[in-house]
């Protein structure tokens, strides 16, 4: 009886200990998330009561040419950013993995972009890419590479490449450091054995390194995809979605709809648009990791 009471006490204490976390998660994650889903199914203008309209907001978005541009831009921004971060991050990890002297120092320097506030990064890149006074254009003109300033933030294609560049600069250290940590767990014996069999650097990377760290690669890519898909600051500060709507993405579009136009229902639907894709990605990665564990 005494044992049972102790167990009960223990269970109660367990619940009590997780209660604050559960309350916080419920209040700060679950409630806003479910509210957003509900609001996306309503005609809700700020200050007015919400009216349930089912999927009408989603239908309106699908019919909107502007939303299609925004969806395409979001895809280009996300895929472009992730692809480059993956390559640069891997290069950073491989380089650091083989650096013996000054490894910690270099690692610290390369982590800087990740710890600098995004607003500072966006403002810095905006200035670097300014048509008239930007360091990049001034340098290119000075060395005679171009005769006039390049329209980094004005040409629709270059503007997208420019915001991707800023995003990559901020995000690649996360990839690099994660990959490096994973690489350092790969047993040296595998490389030694491969060397005995005559494997070169590329074969060692392709057949040993990459398969050994693919779990980390998958998780890091997934996390970064979610964050990049919801990025706001870089685009808003550098181009405000311009020129025209050339860099307008889900987050800036949702802001324009929800805050400036006060259309919460439609804004929530726009911000929920990427949810199925993110959910699919999460399911895919989780299933992959489970399979790996088995």
């Amino acid at each position: 009886m005494n044992v049972l009471t102790d167990r009960r006490r223990e269970r109660l204490l367990g619940y009590a200990l997780i209660a604050p976390v559960a309350i916080f998660l419920g209040a700060l994650v679950a409630y806003p998330f479910l509210s957003a889903i509900y609001l996306s199914l309503t005609e809700k203008t700020v200050g007015y009561p919400a009216h349930f309209v089912g999927l009408r907001n989603y239908e309106a978005l699908l019919e909107s040419g502007r939303f299609r541009i925004v969806a395409w831009n979001s895809a280009a921004f996300t895929v472009g950013s992730i692809a480059v971060k993956l390559v640069v991050g891997m290069a950073m990890a491989l380089a650091l993995h083989n650096v013996v002297r000054g490894n910690q120092f270099v690692r610290g320097i390369l982590l800087l972009p990740w710890v600098i506030p995004t607003v500072v990064i966006a403002l810095t890149w905006k200035w670097l890419m300014d048509l008239f006074r930007g360091l990049i254009n001034v340098a290119l003109i000075d060395v005679g590479a171009v005769t006039g300033g390049v329209h980094w933030l004005g040409d629709p294609t270059l503007a997208m490449a420019s915001v991707i560049t800023a995003n990559v600069w901020r995000g690649f250290p996360f990839f690099g450091v994660s990959f490096l940590a994973a690489m350092q767990t790969v047993p040296q014996e595998l490389y030694d054995a491969a060397a005995v069999d005559g494997a070169g650097s590329w074969e060692k990377f392709w057949r040993i390194t990459l398969p050994s760290i693919k779990g980390v690669v998958a998780v890091v890519t997934l996390l970064s995809t979610i964050v990049t898909l919801n990025d706001f600051n870089i685009v808003y500060i550098m181009t405000r979605g311009g020129p025209g709507a050339a860099t307008h993405i889900f987050a800036t579009y949702s802001y324009e709809l929800g805050i400036m136009s006060q259309r919460w229902g439609l804004s929530m639907a726009a911000s929920m648009a990427s949810l199925p894709l993110v959910a699919l990605l999460i399911v895919a990665v989780v299933r992959y990791l489970h399979r790996e564990e088995e």
């Binding site: 209040a27 200050g47 006074r133 040409d155 025209g244 324009e256």
Partner: protein
């Protein structure tokens, strides 16, 4: 069990401390005031001092919070939904229409009546942004008018007169470019800031391309006039190449920077460039001039987008005290002190202070003239929530950039804009 109870009590107490509770409305004797943080800190200081002095005289405790043009609607959106608007709110040009339509603003006709006794009549063109259904829902505070900045030295160099029409701006820009003085002299940014949508309204209205009638009801942009207006300004980007596409991505400050860096000949802006140049003794100060924004075939119909108005939200429990405080801040002595400390940026919307000798300078006369000729958002009707959304949703500037960036024809861009506006006016019908 006693220990467990203690642990639970500690957890509950911690949760209670950490979980934020809704802010209770200000108690009697305390007032909250939200105002715009302007780019003239000395003027902001005078305003705060005036307001605090007024509060002190009335035995009130005044808490002032600020916002910028960029985060104003983020702050107000949250407050509207949580019913925590302040006792006194300084609202932008579209704020009174939006909040009055929600029934969230007190009638301040009595405050306006008292202010007109001291400051003279409200300018007739300012009424449309603050007077709804025959009563005032806000008291006009000041306007920051957009004027045309230009470089007289460059115009002299190319033998051109200061432009007076939209066509003139294009022609002079071409001359400047051809003379090799500047590559992209025409700094009109059709972007997602006030420097984009304010001139967009002035442009359309001066070509007779308003989208509403005098009652504020939607009529649509007339195709012929709209096309003419679009052709004249998109030419700078597409044919003459006197504007760079980069201008379409500018923030509200980038055109100031480009002008002060000597890279553009024209740009629409509030008088802030003058303030910056004067306060830094900028070398271009002597080569900077302003002019009233251009006219078109239908006349000079300027927009007044940067207008700030005092309002008393009905969320507050101290509306009487709030009104008294606004009345005190708008009292002649206080208002003139503020106006004269504003480096000629904050232009009154009442008749008497506009006649103050303070404005009797070459630039002062131009900003006063601009305010006198300005029209509220949604002209020729009053400002309505639908007109507010047309502007804040960037419908007008999107229409222009569709032609420039996406190479849509002006006719198709107008059709698209009219479709978007019709949806807005159907959803937010004009009462």
């Amino acid at each position: 069990m006693g220990t467990l109870a203690k642990k639970l009590a500690v957890l509950v107490a911690l949760t209670a401390v950490l979980v934020p509770l809704p802010r209770p409305p200000a108690a009697a004797g305390k007032l909250s005031l939200w105002r715009l943080k302007t780019y003239i800190p000395p003027a902001d200081k005078i305003l705060d001092a005036n307001a605090q002095e007024c509060a002190k005289k009335a035995g009130l405790e005044l808490a002032i919070q600020t916002y910028t043009f960029d985060d104003m609607w983020t702050k107000f959106t949250a407050a509207i939904e949580s019913k925590t608007l302040p006792d006194i709110a300084e609202l932008d040009a579209v704020g009174p229409a939006r909040l009055a339509n929600l029934g969230r603003l007190a009638d301040v006709s009595d405050v306006v009546a008292a202010a007109t006794k001291e400051l003279g009549a409200i300018l007739p063109n300012a009424d449309g942004a603050v007077k709804f259904g025959g009563k005032y829902n806000a008291v006009p505070h000041y306007a920051i008018p957009l004027v045309l900045f230009y470089r007289p030295d460059i115009l002299t160099k190319v033998g051109a007169e200061p432009p007076d029409t939209w066509e003139d701006i294009q022609k002079v820009s071409e001359k400047v470019k051809k003379a090799g003085v500047q590559e992209y002299p025409n700094g009109f940014p059709w972007n997602r800031t006030g420097d984009g949508y304010d001139p967009a309204m002035s442009l359309l209205w001066s070509y007779g391309a308003a989208w509403v009638d005098k009652s504020g009801k939607f009529t649509g942009i007339p195709k012929a006039a709209g096309v003419e207006a679009l052709r004249v300004v998109t030419r700078a980007y597409l044919a003459d190449k006197t504007s760079a596409f980069d201008y379409l991505s500018w923030s509200g400050a980038t055109n100031n920077e480009a002008f002060m860096a000597g890279k553009i000949t024209f740009t629409p802006n509030g008088p802030s460039i003058l303030y910056q140049e004067e306060s830094t003794q900028h070398p271009l100060l002597k080569d900077t001039a302003i002019k009233v924004m251009p006219k078109g075939p239908a006349g000079r119909n300027l927009a007044l987008t940067f207008v700030m108005n005092w309002a008393v939200p009905t969320d507050g429990k101290s509306q009487k005290e709030a009104k008294a405080l606004i009345g005190c801040v708008m009292a002649r002595e206080n208002f003139v002190k503020y106006m004269q400390g504003s480096f000629r940026q904050m232009v009154p919307l009442f008749a008497k202070p506009l006649d103050d000798p303070y404005w009797n300078t070459p630039t002062g006369k131009i900003v006063v003239e601009t305010v006198k000729q300005g029209h509220p958002v949604g002209w020729p009707g009053p400002t309505t929530p639908a007109a507010a959304e047309v502007v804040s949703g960037n419908v007008l500037t999107d229409m222009i950039t569709r032609v420039i960036v996406d190479k849509v024809t002006p006719e198709a861009a107008i059709d698209e804009a009219n479709k978007r506006m019709k949806e807005i006016y159907d959803r937010l019908p004009v009462k």
